[in-house]
Amino acid sequence: MTDYLPNSRIASTTCPFCGVGCNLDLHIQDDFIYKVTSPFTSIVNQGNLCVKGRFGTDFIYNKKRITTPLIRKIPQRPGARTQAFNLDEWRPVSWDEALEFAADRLVEIYQRDGGDAMAAYSCAKATNEDNYLLQKLIRSLFRTNNIDHCTRLCHAGSVVALQKAIGSAAMSNTASEVVNSDVFIITGSNTAETHPIIAIQMKNAVKEHGAKIIVVDPRRVEMVNYATLWLPEKPGSDVAVFSGMAHVIIKENLYDKEFIDERTEYFEEFKQSMEKFTPEYVESVSGVDRQLIIDAARLFANAERGAIYWALGISQSTHGTDNAHSLINLALLTGNLGRLGTGLNPLRGQNNVQGASDSGAMPWQYPGYQEVDNEDVAIKFEKAWNIEPGGLNRQRGLTTTEILSHVHPGGVRALYIMGENPMMSEPNLNLAHKHMQQLELLIAQDLFINESGSYADVFLPAVTFAEKDGTFTNTDRRVQIVRQAIQPRGNSRPDWKIICDLAQRIEKRLKPKNTAIWDYQHPSEILAEMGNLVPSYKGVKYERIQEIGLQTPVLDDNHPGTPFLYKDSFPIGKAKFFGLNYYPIDEPPNEEFPLILNTGRVLEHWHGGTLTRHSWMDDLYPEALVEINPLDAGWQEIRTSDAIKVTSRRGEVVLRAIVTEKTIPGVVFIPFHFAEAAANLLTNDALDPEAKIPEFKACAVKIEKVSLEDLPARDNYQLRGRY
């Protein structure tokens, strides 16, 4: 469609919100984006968008956006660090002053306390190039692997399990292949709200292609409306449910013997460990009717093409790794890998969480999942970055949650945050705040002064996706181009430029023999450097992805990319079955705290809210709501829009109730986007022992009706009719 506004133009880029990676056409007049559409020829989203991509990019122009570097007026001391949301508490400074200040303080702490005192949170919203550079800065200049990003809080459980069982952690198949599936399982994913465009394809698969869905989820999420079976499990009982299905499949001889013989190992041990998961036992621990488990097992095992889609309901658990193993076991058992329309498909949350992981913003691995404690790998990166032999740190670094809990004298002293908001996304926020206050130095690089940036000594204003060039890698491994569409607002700068400038100033102070190279002219040079170090990105070049992105692995300049993985083999040769045991959640309900709190997202908001709470979309969903089942609401006479106090052992929040059967009896649900009623004040910081992911999805709480006066913000209740 032609635009009728004079002087308007269209810029094509990639959506900055979720992992689907929709292609956007930004309609612009005088550097103002007034409309967003999508090309109908788009291979990812076929012209469809969700509310966030369509209307949610206006945070770019929000008045509260910071567009000039800032330094705190009152110097902050460890233990007495405070939050400063008010601009009066900051002094606008030049980039020179801000970066000199940052470099001075960073080098001072590094030279006094060594690399262990340094840490960084990288950013799954930023580009591959930004992430590659920040991990390069931390590793090559400060000689530490203390860099992580929010993948630790998202899919760490899935990643660890997939790496162990198969050798690669990405989605095995392309999302749009769902129309080729006969049966697919959706578990721990509210797909219609968190990956709306994939949900559209799933609905289409059911309505137009005859596919059948099995939803396993404690919430009656929208996709249940399209499902053949819904298994309403108790939070945290995933291992039991999926192992129960495996038990039935083994007992009824429905498994794929040929696939198991040729491509897997440890089947006998696995078979033994599944013996105990009888439908009766599974019903007793999960609350799912035994017949539903048998039906689901038969439906999935008899499918010619069966796929499994999951999100954080599986991984955000103290046994998140086991949960993911139970899904992998199921796929291996039924031979549903390596073919079109099958696969193990962890739906990644952030637009570039796949890419940030690929780019090495992780404490245990260099770019391309190359282990930091592998001598050969370390030597390879020392050569690439001009570092003396033995210079890079061979010790695994601290993970996201560990970085904060290690903030104390002798531990982490300086933290660099690029675009993350741990003061919303960490579990047990009251404790997280205490850790944050102990920092000696905090540098924040972001768009807004959010709950985390407000603690900073120096604030570096970065640009949005629309003001810089780069690449994002979406959930199905497609590397897509991000184009600068408008001029940076005010005095803000692209992340990659900020990092390069800062790195050069740090090098000036540290005086290494050779520079690690920071004088890039364009992000394409950064991606090329990464491609030389990461085999799966070797063939990804800017000139090849101008129109359509390439799906990694792309092994050379002529390689066409890889729509689905494991056609002939697994990265570790034979895939491994893992025997499993069922363990309950870390904090089961009791008499004092009788309900389980589940947390997650809503369609209209994005994670910590830094972007969407600064968008007009906030009008559609302006306040936090706690979902309560009518059975639980009944005995306290709670009605929709009443004010409710929700209390856990770690904190309390007050917010409005919405009484709905979307959540099952015994479980309440709160989205975690809202700072004024932050769900993570309540959540449990117990970790999965292997993946170090916290149990966001289940903790014990109690609810109590309070006066509307107690609500943190008294806006009119926004009536909505959507599911």
Binding site: V36, N48, C50, V51, R54, I200, Y723
Partner: protein, 232 residues
Amino acid sequence: MTEQIHLTIDQQPVTTGAGTTILKAAQENGIEIPTICFHDSCTANALCRICVVEVTGARTLIPSCVAKVSEGMVVETQSERVRLSRKTILEMMASTTDLSQSPEIIAMFAEYDVEEDRFPDATPRHPEIIDDNSMFIRDYAKCILCWRCVQVCATDAQYAFAINFKERGYNTQISTFFEIPLPETTCVFCGQCIGVCPTNALKPKKEWLLEQGMEPETIMSLTRQERRKRGR
């Protein structure tokens, strides 16, 4: 391998697969047939009839967006009868609808010698702009009832089923059920409807405010109450 069908379009012999529409068969051979309500991503419904063609032996003109090819078919896409029909359709649209923001349709006026005031007694539709949320406005004075928005809201994309036709005949209009404000419907504000609207009857609120002469600065300074204003 699908069965091959042989036909003639504008004296040109054409071969295509069985089940292809006349419109697609023509496009494959570089013959342009104008369309308005047709969209590649939507189910075709032959509502606007601008794509009609003359098929030898057929009593009426045939909408090429839905009619399938058949063996030996002889199709004329620019016969006098076809051109008169298209001219009349455009003139009737122009007499009732505000096409000022539909450059593609206006571009057809010259091609078909359209007299915009051919029906001076026709009553243009003037429903008020519906401004009931912060995301987008609905200006049905510009609506030609192509039905694309209803379809993408339903089974062509979103499965939200928030909008449909109300009333009949001349009074037909796209509406929410019982005309309730959009936020109270099943609408998820995906805006697929905006993406397929051919006449800019549906547009983001920011675009509409720009059009009213408001500066981006002022637009972004609006308070939540000002943005949400319900002017039904």
